[in-house]
């Protein structure tokens, strides 16, 4: 049988045949590779990109911590971080922002997080670092609200001091000069029973936090205890634990006050 036809169709057929062979090869290769990974792999060291991280000179805001930094409870989804970011962007122009906060994070988990290589690098690049940590340590380890356990809380506080020390020293190791803004703790249960005990606990923890912060250069403690002291229901979300929109707004204002003062100082130094 003779094959007749336009050269285009013959070329098309040959191309299809060729494609089939190529794809079949790829298939065979893939099956072999998945089942028996080849030993002639590229050594990982060789391909490490020569240039380190592209040291962008852009201003970078790095936020660490727990759900407060994440913005849980803010129905607008912004939290304090986005508000601060917007404000800084207006002032500074372009600005990078990385939010590394994880909901429910405790100081122990944050301690492990900041030791990761990539997080360290980001901290090194940061021009501002913001931080909320401790709420989960305090309210989880002290037991349920009805039966606050002073002993457990005391033990947790010691661990908290230790962890906070480690966190801040890692930050300072990576970045000796940029300011760190650390929010103080507030008492979401200030209008419920046992408020004397919960208030005392929060005050104690805040003292610890301030003491540790005082040991490091340029670590600014931003107090928020007062915001949540009167009428906490106005600034708390319906879960009665996280701030609501208004609460985050207040937190952002506080942080910006501390931050702008600092920013002016820096520009004064430059002159």
């Amino acid at each position: 049988m003779r094959i007749k036809g336009h050269p285009v169709w013959i070329a098309f057929s040959l191309f299809s045949l060729f494609a089939t062979l190529v794809l079949a090869t790829g298939f065979g290769w893939a099956v072999k590779d998945v089942l028996r990974p080849s030993s002639d792999r590229i050594p990982a060291g060789e391909v490490q990109e020569a240039a380190g991280r592209g040291k962008s000179k852009e201003a970078l805001l790095v936020s660490l911590g727990d759900s407060l930094t994440r913005g849980t409870g803010d129905t607008s989804g912004q939290g304090y971080v986005s508000r601060v970011k917007e404000a800084l962007r207006e002032k500074n122009g372009t600005l990078g922002a990385v939010n590394l906060a994880v909901k429910g994070q405790t100081s122990d988990q944050l301690k492990r997080q900041v030791k990761k290589k990539r997080v360290r690098a980001l901290l090194g690049d940061a021009r501002w670092i913001t931080l909320t940590i401790g709420g989960n340590d305090l309210f989880r380890n002290s037991g349920a609200l009805e039966e606050l356990d002073p002993e457990g809380a005391e033990k947790a506080r010691k661990a908290y001091r230790q962890n906070l020390n480690e966190i801040l020293s890692v930050i300072r190791q990576e970045n000796p000069s940029s300011p760190v803004f650390m929010f103080g703790l507030y008492n979401p249960f200030g209008d419920l029973g046992e408020k004397e005990i919960s208030n005392r606990l929060v005050r104690e923890w805040n003292r610890t936090l301030s003491e540790v912060a005082g040991d490091y250069e340029k670590v600014v403690v931003v107090p928020v205890y007062d915001i949540f002291q009167l009428n906490p229901e106005k600034v708390l979300y319906s879960d009665r634990f996280h701030p609501n929109r208004q609460g985050y707004e207040f937190m952002a204002v506080r942080l910006l006050q501390a931050l702008h003062r600092q920013a002016e100082e820096v520009s004064a130094d430059d002159r």
Partner: protein
């Protein structure tokens, strides 16, 4: 042998001249620019939001965001498992300082085949494969075909072989089109960029023991090879349906419904493990290459290949038996 080549060539020509192939290519040529632009937009968007184009920061942020999704209590356990594995994989990339998604046309092609293997490519295949026998019925040409002094099974086999060639052609052209079109935005370089492969999900843990790097061109070749196998399975089943059903519209409809429900069911009911014995839940073969954890537990590459192979085999047997024995009247 000459005889065979002639038969297959003839069938191939019949299929190509039907304009259906052109339509398929046209669909691809229209959709790929849209996909390209979409990807470009979302990249721009993240860069803008983060204020940095450093992929390490972007990837780190993505890991943290995924961690936060994990803490949602409404998330089904299977999803959580998958997110956890994804996080571990991304962390692996980050730790080894390799960008999993460096922009470039080859990266686009790689992403395209990984995404398209479950639905887009099979749909294209269904469009060309579904009328292969049924159209002979609706056009009435079946009688002319069968009155030739060629055995029926030979006719059917040559149709099948031509279909396989056509599937290869379509897949290759999507790759070529994707490369040419996306390169306009992303640039044409990046063929030898290193990519990790060999991740294995082991319970909830990611096993990185056999992870190794391969150049991206090899990855694309292997990815397309696996997708090719999936598409052949789809083509074979469409081929069977096309023999069984005399109306082209019905056979396309049946295949599309099966395809779509196959990909929906895995999302809807990941706990229903019997689903893994269906052909269309096993189409995502490229996942075994990228290490993307599968939704249903206990699926491995040999398993999926076996299932797809068995279904195809059954499809072929049914198609041939029916076609050889059937009375052709009208």
């Amino acid at each position: 042998m000459r005889n065979w080549i002639g038969l297959v060539y003839n069938e191939l020509l019949k299929m190509v001249k039907k304009k259906r192939v052109l339509v398929v290519l046209l669909i691809t040529a229209v959709l790929i620019p849209i996909f390209t632009y979409g990807e470009y937009r979302s990249l721009q968007n993240t860069v803008e939001q983060m204020g940095t184009s450093d992929w390490r920061s972007l990837l780190q942020q993505r890991i943290i965001d995924a961690q936060n999704r994990l803490s949602s209590s409404r998330l089904p356990e299977e999803w959580k498992q998958q997110i956890k594995l994804n996080i571990q994989q991304q962390q692996y990339y980050l730790d080894h300082d390799i960008n999993p998604t460096a922009p470039g046309a080859p990266t686009f092609v790689r992403g395209f085949v990984e995404e398209a293997v479950s639905l887009f490519l099979p749909l294209l295949v269904v469009v060309v494969a579904s009328d292969i026998v049924s159209s002979e019925h609706s056009a009435g040409t079946i009688k002319l075909l069968l009155t030739r002094p060629v055995r029926r099974w030979r006719i059917l086999l040559s149709k099948y072989l031509a279909l396989l060639l056509l599937v290869s052609f379509i897949m290759t052209s999507t790759a070529v089109l994707g490369y040419l079109i996306s390169g306009v935005i992303f640039g044409y370089g990046g063929w030898d960029m290193p990519v990790f492969t060999g991740f294995q999900a082991n319970g909830g843990e990611l096993n990185t023991e056999s992870v190794h790097l391969i150049p991206q061109w090899q990855y694309i070749l292997m990815g397309y090879g696996l997708a090719w196998f999936s598409c052949i399975a789809v083509a074979t089943l469409s081929f069977m349906v096309s023999v069984l059903v005399r109306s082209t519209a019905a056979s396309i409809g049946i295949m599309m419904a099966a395809l779509i429900s196959g990909s929906l069911l895995t999302q809807l009911a990941p706990t229903w493990t019997a689903l893994k014995y269906l052909a269309f839940t096993n189409l995502r073969l490229t996942d075994y290459l990228s290490g993307e954890p599968s939704m249903i537990e206990g699926m491995t590459l040999p398993f999926s290949l076996t299932i797809l192979g068995l279904w195809s085999l059954v499809g072929l047997v049914v198609a041939f038996t029916v076609f050889v024995r059937r009375d052709v009247l009208a």
